[in-house]
Amino acid sequence: MAIKHNSGIILTTVEEVLSWGRRNSLWPASIGLACCAIEMMHTAASRFDTDRLGIIFRGSPRQSDVLIVAGTVVNKVAPMLKLIYDQMPDPKWVISMGGCSSVGGPFPTYSTLQGVDRIIPVDVYVPGCPPTPQALLWGIMQLQKKIKEKKEGKVWDEIPVREVPTASQPLLEKSPFGF
């Protein structure tokens, strides 16, 4: 939180500026596996535009910092997905989009990985089959909130698990510096 000193100078720490930079230019490596990939494309399309938030969909994992796992992760693809995750440069996060990649979704079968967090650590789970573009954008904003509040080197005490939304969130007011 940048403190606005009464003399108008904004005091902030280097860590906040860096986390502001990382939050507002998240470049996802789009791993489109199944139906959730179509909804991810719609989030990047004209109506729910992700370019507004500074999100460009990069092809290669080398240049991306978020891995959006969209679709069913099958056992056969799991090692390749682990490889993609290892190739990504360091400050990296994972959004598990849709029920299939979060907990195996509606496919309790012999060949489906029951949850991508069994092979790579996941930061945000977005339930839904497929989650609507607005639900995915809400998931991305939760990730931005996590980047903002996670201090380097300290264990991030997650928001208490019981807070389940009962009504849709109120509209945010516009902040000049983005999220």
Binding site: S30, A34, C35, H42, P106, Y110, Q114, R118
Partner: protein, 589 residues
């Protein structure tokens, strides 16, 4: 089974008599919507050549296996053939004694992948197959999953807890730290080596499964000489979720949402194809209004699917703005489907006997507005692309498909029609309201990528005409029933359950024991944007099907890709793959 007259699509009596006097040992199994000929394995090959040459059954539709664990030769192979001249289908069954069957790739090249899948899923060996490897799972996978004695959730023996949790933490009631075996990179190396035993040229390029160019997770292996591809093979199975295995333990209504997740771009068309097959099996007749709603939504979904194809195809060839324009139109159709069914993409909206809910108020006005406004937008995309010299140079004479290829590989849908073969299920076997609607079926002359592009754009125009006709017909049927709940197999609506005990009891029975389908088999297919989506259902009288085989159009259309890519560059591989329009959910099932 009683022999009904309208069984016109299947083999007629005159041909059966010709077969009888040539092969007296053939026994016939006739159902309402399927006719099967039983033949012994030893004389299978020349029986099929007889069917192919003399009786005109040139086109290969599908091949699968069925597992009867308590019958002596355990597996039974089922072939489906089709004769384009006199529009007839035939099913040929043969028992696989000691789990081997003669390979028919000599007759039809399309059977190569189907036999690999049968080996992968059932463990039936094929003599004479050029490279019998597993189709979906990795080479060193020890089991054959579609056998009846294999559990649905597989053998959960490895300890693989979730990385986010502390060891003793239990997040949800259905979380288990134990999991089926996950392959390592060495297993996948082995799979790749098995596919390409003789590496002939310079480098083997892995056009990897997680690649923005491939539509979903398809793994291409190119043997490349400089930029030109010498040899190519495709590894599928990166999205094999075992949907056919799930079908064997779900009732007919519970399987409807799974049909959306197979071909997730044209969800409604798959539902309509599946529900028509089940309705023919249970001989349930949906009301008139439900038929028109299904046809209208099916055509809207076809436009939706062709728009996504046009967007991703133009994106692969570099025109980035067309991708976003097509998605702007797709948003409109998804708004309509969200308004009618409740969910944008996988709307499980069709039910056995009709549709889940009535059309909301305002739906027909929105559809009329869309029908009026869409052709102008489509005209915009055509001016950008159709006569653009870069587009022409990238598309003309790329991947030309001949009529013989269509019959050899069992190609269906736009890919077949681009080669001039008039094979459209809406014309041959019209279900719902397709016989009361007039539209044209576009055909191509040359069969290259440019033809397929023109065909798909033309099909969008025809679909708009159909939607317009359906909308004005539905305008007049405002108060009709949308689901035939008086039928014993159809689930009652919520209002009926609230107000009458019999409806509640009928609802309970149908939910708990499932629709007790009469004994019998059926093969019925629908015209998906990606070709013929066929459902072969064997029912033994219980609530869930004994075997449900899904004949996917994209699976057989993709099989011609290695054939067409020989000698062309990688850049053409993108254009060619885009024009074949595979969807991985349907190819891998």
């Amino acid at each position: 089974m009683q022999f009904s007259q309208e069984n016109s699509l299947w083999i007629n009596q005159e041909k059966i008599s010709k077969i009888k006097e040539k092969y007296p040992s053939v026994s016939i199994e006739k159902y309402d919507n399927a006719t099967f000929l039983h033949i012994d394995k030893s004389s299978l090959i020349d029986f099929l050549t007889f069917l192919k040459e003399n009786l005109g059954f040139k086109m290969f539709i599908d091949f699968t296996c069925v597992d009867y664990p308590f019958h002596n030769p355990r597996f039974q192979g089922v072939y489906f053939l089709y004769s384009p001249e006199d529009r007839q289908r035939v099913g040929v069954k043969t028992w696989a004694t000691d789990n081997t069957l003669p390979s028919i790739t000599s007759l039809w090249k399309g059977a190569k992948w189907a036999e690999r899948e049968a080996w992968d899923m059932f463990g039936v060996k094929f003599e004479g197959h050029e490279n019998l490897v597993r189709m979906f799972l990795w080479e060193s996978y020890p089991y054959h999953p579609l056998r009846k004695d294999f559990p649905l959730e597989g053998i959960q023996d490895t300890y693989l807890p979730s990385k986010n949790l502390r060891p003793e933490e239990n997040p949800a009631h259905n979380y288990t730290p134990y999991h089926t075996y996950v392959p390592t990179l060495e297993d996948l190396e082995e799979t790749q080596k098995a596919r390409m035993p003789n590496k002939s040229s310079q480098i083997v390029l892995n056009w990897g499964p997680l690649h923005p160019g491939t539509h979903g997770t398809i793994w291409f292996l190119f043997d490349m000489e400089g930029e030109y591809v010498k040899e190519c093979d495709i590894i599928l199975g990166q999205l094999h979720r075992g949907v056919e295995k799930i079908a064997e333990s779900r009732t007919y209504t519970q399987f409807i949402p799974y049909t959306d997740r197979m071909d997730y771009i044209s969800a409604l068309c798959s539902q309509v194809a599946y529900v028509n097959a089940v309705e023919k099996l249970l001989n349930v007749e949906p009301p008139e209004k439900a038929k028109w709603i299904r046809t209208m939504l099916c055509e809207l979904q076809r436009i939706n699917s062709h728009l996504l194809w046009l967007g991703t195809y133009a994106l692969d060839l570099g025109a980035l703005t067309i991708f976003l324009y097509c998605f702007r139109e797709r948003e409109k159709i998804m708004d309509i489907i969200e308004g009618i069914s409740g969910i944008r993409l996988n709307s499980s909206y069709i039910r056995i006997g009709g549709v889940a809910k009535d059309l909301p108020e305002g739906a027909l006005d929105v559809i009329k507005h869309f029908v009026k406004d869409f052709p102008k937008k489509l005209q915009e995309y055509e001016t950008i692309l159709t006569t653009n010299r870069v587009w022409l140079k990238r598309n003309i004479n790329v991947g030309t498909i001949s009529e013989e290829d269509v019959y050899q590989y069992g190609l269906t849908g736009v890919v077949a029609r681009s080669a001039g073969v008039p094979y459209d299920i809406r014309m041959i076997q019209p279900t719902d309201a397709y016989d009361k609607v007039d539209f044209d079926v576009p055909l191509g002359k040359v069969g290259d990528c440019y033809d397929r592009y023109l065909l798909r754009v033309e099909e969008m125009k025809q679909s708009i005409k159909i939607v317009a006709q359906c909308a004005e017909k539905l305008e007049k049927m405002k108060e009709d029933k949308y689901i035939a709940t008086e039928n014993p197999y159809v689930l009652p609506t919520l209002d009926e359950v609230f107000n009458s005990i019999e409806a509640m009891v009928k609802d309970f029975n149908l939910r708990i024991y499932g629709e007790q389908a009469p004994e019998g088999e059926i093969y019925l297919s629908g015209e998906n944007p990606r070709g013929e989506l066929g459902f072969y259902i064997i029912s033994k009288g219980e609530g869930h099907p004994y075997r449900l085989r899904i004949r996917s159009g994209a699976f057989y259309n993709l099989q011609i890709f290695p054939e067409l890519i020989k000698g062309r560059t990688v850049a053409d591989a993108v254009a060619l793959l885009g024009s074949l329009d595979p969807v991985v959910g349907e190819t891998d099932r």
